[in-house]
Amino acid sequence: MSEKILVAKDITKSFGRFQVLNGINLTIKRGDRYILFGSNGAGKTTLVKILSTILPADSGELTLFGKKIERRSKDIKAMIGFMSHEPYLYNELSARENLNFYASLYSVKDKKERVESLLKEVGLYHRSHDKIGSFSRGMKQRLSLARAILHAPDIIFLDEPYAGLDIRAQEILNDLIIRLNQKGKTFFFITHDIGKGFEIAKRSGVLSKGRIVYEVEGGEKKAFSEKYREIIREETG
């Protein structure tokens, strides 16, 4: 039985009077590729930010590797990688300088070798000295994935990673994720796009009205899509 990396119990979150998350229960095991689907405004980004310790939950319990997650814990932050639709990169710096900067913040050992190998891995070695302001969105996202895995985190969260990517860039990103997953990295995704997300999911879930209302391991895309549409129809009335 795989080790439980992340366990969330009864997580709630509200902004003012608006209840965004209403009792999230979730378990992620080592080596998972868990994709959580949901419509716009379902609370996906809020959930991924809570799981990755960016936002605190109002109530509930969150554990990572058996340790209770504390939002400002440096140890926990070092175990987490996060890739958002925002690349978290500086346009004024080159690809190499951006990775060097984050490698220093994460106190990465053998920084130079690690940065070089990641630049090769994401196919940007030949552009490593170019400022990323001149990069396409797809190139920035690939560099963003390199940034997210720079410190060899145990779990990587992805928030709408396909946003604004063309089909080729999506394929490259999916190939990278599958390769990293085969090397033992655990992934937790959120997206509203079943077409792009489901094809690489090992486990999938649907977030609706602040709860995970449906979960499936493997399964057929067609059946999942129908179930997802049914949930969305109920949600929107």
Partner: protein, 222 residues
């Protein structure tokens, strides 16, 4: 300390490549100095009395408007969360940014001082006293400017909110004391003669730095 140094170097690289702070400071300070020079060219005035307020108005507004975007650009570029996710203390972010901005603004102020003396040729018998006052006044402007920039970056219309929050605090503490002490220096006072004001300004520098260091955690993460 490694995180402070990393943030410091990153800030300098980003600033020297974007020149956002350098350009806004340079243009604004030049405009203020020349505006006052031409405004006072039609009336009789005492150079010794007016030089100090004009100099500090230039430093104050130059600093205020150039510090305004330093946290907001992290939000606009989407890099703030990247910093907050890193296993570093938010106070490292504050200190790294503070030191980088202090260096940039100090260099800009030295350049501004040269332009100022061209337009307002006031006698300065004790240059050490003047430079000491400029240095400690700048620490106060940058320390408080950094923290208010972080607070206002979370607010709507942050460009308006920054002066609203910064002016009352800075004006009645560091700026007024600096104006008074610099006036005395222009009138012939030496370093020891303005020691009382220097201690007063230094006390506020320490308070502003301590407030920034302690509160940045809550300001950035909430």
């Amino acid at each position: 300390m490694n995180a402070v140094k990393t943030i410091f170097l990153k800030e300098l690289m980003v600033e020297f490549r974007s020149k956002q702070m350098i350009n806004s400071y340079f243009i604004l300070s030049l405009m203020i100095i020349t505006s006052f020079r031409f405004a006072f060219s039609v009336i009789d005035f005492s150079l010794t009395q007016l030089a100090s307020p004009i100099l500090w108005i230039t430093f104050f507004f130059g600093g205020m408007f150039s510090l305004s975007p330093i946290y907001k650009r992290e939000i606009e570029q989407g890099t703030r969360e990247g910093l907050l996710l890193a296993p570093i203390s938010p106070s490292s972010i504050y200190l790294g940014k503070f030191l980088a901005n202090l260096l940039v603004i100090s260099c800009l102020e030295l350049f501004t001082l040269l332009i100022f003396f061209v337009f307002f040729p006031v006698d300065t018998p004790d240059l050490l006293a003047l430079l000491t006052l400029v240095a400690i006044g700048t620490i106060g402007i940058v320390a408080l400017g950094n923290i208010i920039s972080a607070i206002s970056s979370n607010l709507a219309q942050s460009e308006v909110m920054l002066p609203v929050l910064l002016v009352p605090v800075l004006l009645f503490t560091v700026i007024m004391s600096s104006v008074s002490a610099t006036s005395n220096v222009f009138a012939g006072a030496h370093l020891l003669d303005v020691m009382q004001e220097i201690k007063f300004i230094l006390a506020f520098d320490v308070v502003f730095l301590a407030v920034g260091y302690l509160l940045i955690d809550y300001i950035l993460e909430d």
